[in-house]
Symmetry: D2
Subunit: 260 residues, 4 copies
Amino acid sequence: MAFKVGEGVATISKLVSWAVAYCIACLHQYTIFVTCFHLGSSNSYLDRISSSPSAPLQNYLQLDPKETALVLIEYQNEFLSEGGKLYEPLKECLAHTNMIENSAKLTKVAREKGAAIFHVPIMFREGAPEIYSKFGILSGIKEGGTFQEGTWNAEFHPDMTPSPEDIIVKGKSGLCGFYSTNLDFLLRQRHIKNVVIGGLLTNCCVESTMRTAYEAGYQVYTLTDCTAAIGVDAHDSMYKHNAGMFSTVTNSGEVEKAFD
Amino acid sequence: MAFKVGEGVATISKLVSWAVAYCIACLHQYTIFVTCFHLGSSNSYLDRISSSPSAPLQNYLQLDPKETALVLIEYQNEFLSEGGKLYEPLKECLAHTNMIENSAKLTKVAREKGAAIFHVPIMFREGAPEIYSKFGILSGIKEGGTFQEGTWNAEFHPDMTPSPEDIIVKGKSGLCGFYSTNLDFLLRQRHIKNVVIGGLLTNCCVESTMRTAYEAGYQVYTLTDCTAAIGVDAHDSMYKHNAGMFSTVTNSGEVEKAFD
Amino acid sequence: MAFKVGEGVATISKLVSWAVAYCIACLHQYTIFVTCFHLGSSNSYLDRISSSPSAPLQNYLQLDPKETALVLIEYQNEFLSEGGKLYEPLKECLAHTNMIENSAKLTKVAREKGAAIFHVPIMFREGAPEIYSKFGILSGIKEGGTFQEGTWNAEFHPDMTPSPEDIIVKGKSGLCGFYSTNLDFLLRQRHIKNVVIGGLLTNCCVESTMRTAYEAGYQVYTLTDCTAAIGVDAHDSMYKHNAGMFSTVTNSGEVEKAFD
Amino acid sequence: MAFKVGEGVATISKLVSWAVAYCIACLHQYTIFVTCFHLGSSNSYLDRISSSPSAPLQNYLQLDPKETALVLIEYQNEFLSEGGKLYEPLKECLAHTNMIENSAKLTKVAREKGAAIFHVPIMFREGAPEIYSKFGILSGIKEGGTFQEGTWNAEFHPDMTPSPEDIIVKGKSGLCGFYSTNLDFLLRQRHIKNVVIGGLLTNCCVESTMRTAYEAGYQVYTLTDCTAAIGVDAHDSMYKHNAGMFSTVTNSGEVEKAFD
């Protein structure tokens, strides 16, 4: 498009207008970053990831427990316990975010406050006859024999064992928490509006679930200190580049306070 | 889990086994990286992003045009043309990947070879009454008045104008190319197996579409040189951390050759 | 299953219990029938189908307009206007339910009360390249050249022309109002709880939409006097056998009163 | 629409054209009916429902087992065994179609020929906390305490027990076999093209599954002699009015031959 004479002012005004409008949404997470880095390390993004309780960024956060579901993705031994096939590559990031301890505490609080707790495990039969993909992460799951149902590997981590009143979502054979499960059906039945997501992996199943939940009209919350990925860099990148477009980025401490 | 005596060997063998299996899938992209960096700069990942025609990494790639759809996401003036509200923040990455020129060439070749061309524009009525989200990227779209139907901003970029035989996918109001559209219906009707994705933004609509397409069983291909994001870092991060889990990462030159 | 000694009483009690429980849901519509036929013709189901204003069966029906959408399926000339390709086979049932007049009045009232009005047209390009099905109703649509976009046939019936504030749902290429459209996205954005469905055909697109809406957790209402099918028998059968399992069967007069 | 002078011929030609085109699809089932009734009782629709092996209507039916799935919906004691809460109201239609024996034979043949066998059971925890619906068939399921997991009622009928190589679809909490399950994911992974549906109830879960399968692009087959409803009238109405729009109506004998 060639610019005509006299369009200069309109263009500048337009650039200012998109700068204001677009920054609100897509660049929201960058703003947090930039702000944080300028404010200094005591209130930085990395602190939020570490779930520093002294860094309350969003004191406005409020959640009605009756309309809120905590969606817990794949807190299974395969990922979280020594001896699990994927524990070693996750170990560094698990320590970095301390996600098991944070998630267990948040789950307890949320349950007591009356929020619905949804556990979303993944599992496959021996040999994973459910999967035919020759490429992508599913082919790796099949070849690695991970998450085999009936084995210790597919069981919940001891600190994240469901209570009798919790809901166990069924069917998860893919990555998104919605596509191959009854999660949406169950959330709709309970008139859930807020979906708070924790689990594994930050940039795989957690991210796919976050994206679909947003698409489906839920108010979505992602938790920097209740998620982990293969490598801290992959974890940080998801929160730096993607999470803000589809969710409110927060942490377990802020959500616990939001129920009051 | 406490380790019992004698489990040492089994554990080491287990660690080796996951290392082999898991690397195949989840870490596939890292492998490419590591390989590339060891091979030297002439065959590196950055070369692939720049679509260097002298760097054929996947000489095995083959696509039957009759089973292949090129899915082109939001090649609209708002993003791609000077004067579009989101052109300025995209400009750097557009130049970096040269995605308009590459996409136009690939579209022409794919169409001639007989592949189906699906254009997936996004648009909203004045004031965007379709959107009520108070958060996330949709609220930014609403506030920014972007992609208003009937305006130049929502029109296709001149180099990416659909041909009469192309299919225009309808309904896109959200981010994923599937959720709010007839894309899946149309792909299924044509018995499409391979979905090759180009467009904008690399880590927003392109990534959501890639994730859902993989979930839905399509063989998915993402194109480093036919996509762009707000900042080269966001673009590169998607290919570094996420794309390999859900797609074969390739470029326009390789896909063009794959139709032969 | 062989009955053991002493199970007789338990079995009888069980039979009574299912009779009570199951009748509430699955056989609800039969109950209405049986009741009606015993009460005599003045308050019968057939009267409800004829939309007799003197037969208010559900004086409890209440709808908050802000949470209610009127979903209007395919009020297009192809079906509803003399000269439309499908008008002749529909004519008898259109006269039987008087659905055009009833729908126009209900739409006006619902719009004034503040309910959201969603129009869901179906249309295809010349030759219907969107459809490849060799069987079922879609193959008939393709062969018949019906609902061609840009022609009078695909336009809304004059009495059902959308107002500027109404929403036009996009993408409908299949039968269900949800699968190939942005309807669910738009309903979720507006936090709609109640979906009131009118349109065509009673046992095809209306029924598929009703079934999916129920599955997706909406409170669904079907309107005997704002729907029609190819033959009164097909219309009546849907309300007799199926509608009560997935919706509250009602009519335009009752819904108009429910907004107060 | 007022007719202008000279439109008479065009209109007549148009009426003839829709008669030809529309009959092919929407009225296909009526054609079968009319034909049958004129041909006499030996080759009638009621014979097909009774699965008379001497009435091969579709000698052209061919199915590649590798691309075909037999989808078996809710062959559970609650419906099919004496003592099940819903056995009594189903009993008449079960005897009418002889669906247990026909389904068991077809499943055995299909498995031997190499088709994929998918079992789709429905079940709920005690008290059905999965369901909140106050209306429709789900509220009846909740109130009736039907299909409780861990009880005999939710187990498969002895003649329809899955073989180890069969797939058990998970998550079914609603009516459609797709919406709340991993059925679509599993079918896509196996590149299934043909979906052959048997089970219960003809006009409830079977019909919803048939409708969604057609929408999703599968070639759908419904089996008059492997389905049953609450009352023969409800069963017959589904095949008379609805099944032909979304599927090829056939029976177990024809499908068994189609694998050769």
